[in-house]
């Protein structure tokens, strides 16, 4: 097993809800988190206990960090984009300002930042756009050109706030139903954008199927693809082994790695996709 890179910056805190606004199909929520905002890097996530005292939901829910601000008017802030999907996220999005939550953050790996300016394409599906805006800013501050493609089933599931787009040179939107941008899927427009903008690296976040499809394209072009995966997680801190997926290492060996501490950001071309419900042949220990 690969020695995992434990994110030693994580802390367990009580975070106060500062704001909670509906934006399309999502809620933009910000939390007062103190010092740990300074520790968060694009791609990291937080894990929040949901349901309150006496809840039947005993596991935390993970959310990608949309933005971390060290020194806001309130102090350290972390912002999230939450889809009210099931019981846990509905509880979270029902919280009013001043409510508090138990949060562990920041967790997981972060997007790797090239040491030299590169031409980067950021691809987000649904709320998967959340971690990309902070990344875009960081890349731009390092002199990179940043293009962005966002896709969703329909317009109100595209999360692309005005201020978030500041760092982006171009933004392409696709929706399955054509209610915003180009009708179709992200992958329909990707190749052209890669060619036109001479993309050298792709960063992505979204549903696993999308990440797999992007990997096929990035592999074809022979460019790097860092993707933030989303596996079902029980602990978020590396102790339960529920969140694994098969990843091939430098030694050519495929191992079941934890997406919470060896991820969520992983090298797309190293992930053995389409491994749901089976262990790929030849995996270490299979």
């Amino acid at each position: 097993m690969n020695p995992s890179s434990i994110n030693n910056r994580a802390a367990q805190i009580t975070a106060e809800v500062i704001s909670n606004k509906r934006v399309g199909a999502y809620h933009h929520m910000s939390f007062l988190v103190g010092d740990i905002a300074a520790q968060a890097l694009p791609g990291n996530f937080v894990a929040i206990a949901v349901g309150g005292e006496g809840s039947a939901m005993i596991l935390r829910r993970a959310f990608a960090i949309y933005r971390a601000t060290e020194k806001s008017a309130h102090g350290g802030l972390i912002e999230l984009i939450v889809a009210p999907h099931g019981q846990g996220s509905r509880w979270l999005t029902s919280l009013e300002p001043h409510a508090t939550v138990d949060m562990v953050a920041p967790l997981g790996t972060h997007f790797g930042i090239p040491t030299e300016p590169v031409r980067a394409l950021l691809v987000g599906g649904g709320y998967g756009s959340a971690p990309l805006f902070g990344l875009a800013e960081l890349l731009k501050s390092r002199g990179c050109r940043v293009d962005m493609v966002l896709g969703a089933s329909t317009a109100n599931k595209i999360y692309a706030p005005l201020d978030g787009k500041r760092a982006v040179s171009s933004l392409t939107i696709t929706t399955d139903d054509g209610s915003m941008g180009t009708q179709g899927q992200i992958t329909d427009v990707l190749s052209q954008i890669i060619i036109e903008n001479e993309i050298e690296i792709i960063y992505s976040c979204g549903p696993m199927g999308m990440l797999e499809a992007i990997t096929k394209i990035s592999d074809r072009f022979g460019i790097l693809h860092q993707c933030a995966v989303e596996e079902s997680m029980a602990c978020g801190i590396g102790v339960c082994m529920t969140c694994v997926l098969p990843v091939t290492g430098d030694d050519g060996v495929t191992r079941m790695l934890r997406s919470c501490i060896d991820g969520p950001v992983m090298d797309g071309s190293r992930v053995v996709w389409d491994s749901k419900r089976k262990i790929p042949e030849g995996t270490f220990g299979a």
Binding site: I58, R60, S232, A234, I237, V239, V244, G285
Partner: protein
């Protein structure tokens, strides 16, 4: 007079009765970012097998009301990697380690027991016999008195020295007392109660079992009444057999319930997933409760609910 929180788990002397549960504390490193591992009575490792295991396919997890199902399938790097890497690290932290071992055959248990001789920092052995026996149609060892006995005897014969052996039992049996009696007779110094209950969740969108492996082990507060019952029954029948109690312990109150039922120490499993510092809170809450209730030692409280 100072309060004594010490416990004796079948020969393992621990400064306090709070342990991690096997498979719920990673390699130790992961939790150590939240608290020093020396704070706990002992760290119980995930079950170590002879060879490396990839574990089961995903999805491996489903949340259930006040519980969760898992089918990790004992993913791990194998005993030699463990001895070479994880154990020295634990020892360097000063952690007391209880190594959990698991086998697919009786011979596996014998081999693993031999490897456990003279390891640094190891204070006990937990023998996970809630595993399928490949030589017997995949029947779980601890579900039959004969196979439970065979596995524990193999460990007893091969362990040498006086490392305490704790046999970990499955609750999925008609009569857990008879299994506990069998492993005690076979040489176990104590029993760990309980492992997970076999369960299933069906994903009503896919209309298929949610876990790739179909069934999984149910843990968390949902199963606590079953666990407390098992501890109470075994302690009533075998009052001298030390018990490591577990199953849904989330708070100091819950730990106290197990102590009153007859556990000499408790393991914290699923609670750590929802709360990385759960074991530490449980420890201090339990210590407070015991003192408030007027116990001078943990020892006095063990099995106290059996008085009449």
């Amino acid at each position: 007079m100072t309060f004594s929180f010490q416990t004796d788990l079948g020969g393992a002397l621990l400064p306090n009765p709070i342990l991690t549960a096997s498979g719920c504390a990673g390699s130790g490193k992961e939790l150590s970012q939240f608290f020093p591992l020396t704070e706990l009575g002992a760290i119980v490792t995930k079950s170590i097998m002879i060879k490396a295991r990839s574990g089961r396919a995903t999805p491996r997890m489903a949340e259930t009301p006040s519980g969760m199902l898992n089918s990790i399938g004992l993913q791990g790097p194998g005993v030699d990697y463990f001895i070479a890497n994880d154990l020295p690290w634990l020892d360097a932290q000063g952690a007391r380690t209880v190594v959990s071992i698991a086998g697919e055959t009786v011979e596996d248990y014998a081999v693993l027991a031999r490897k456990m001789r003279n390891l640094p920092g190891v204070v006990g052995l937990e023998v996970n016999i809630s595993c399928p026996n490949v030589e017997n149609r995949g029947m779980v060892f601890s579900c039959q008195p004969e196979t439970a006995r065979a596995a524990i005897e193999a460990v007893r014969r091969n362990i040498g020295g006086d490392l305490p052996i704790i046999a970990k039992l499955s609750p999925d049996v008609t009569d857990i007392v008879s299994i506990a009696r069998e492993v005690a007779n076979a040489g176990a110094d104590g029993v760990a109660l309980i492992n997970t209950l076999l369960g299933m969740v069906i994903d009503t969108n896919l209309m298929l079992p949610k876990l790739a492996q179909k069934t999984g082990g149910l843990s968390g507060p949902a199963i606590r009444p079953v666990a407390v019952r098992a501890v109470y029954q075994v302690h009533a029948a075998l009052p001298d057999l030390p018990i490591l109690g577990m199953g849904g312990i989330m708070t100091g109150r819950d730990a106290f319930e197990f102590i009153l039922a007859g556990a000499s120490a408790v393991s914290v499993g699923t609670a750590s997933f929802g709360n990385p510092t759960a074991a530490i809170s449980i420890k201090s809450e339990l210590e407070n409760i015991l003192q408030e209730k007027g116990f001078a030692t943990l020892q006095e409280a063990i099995g106290y609910a059996h008085r009449n």
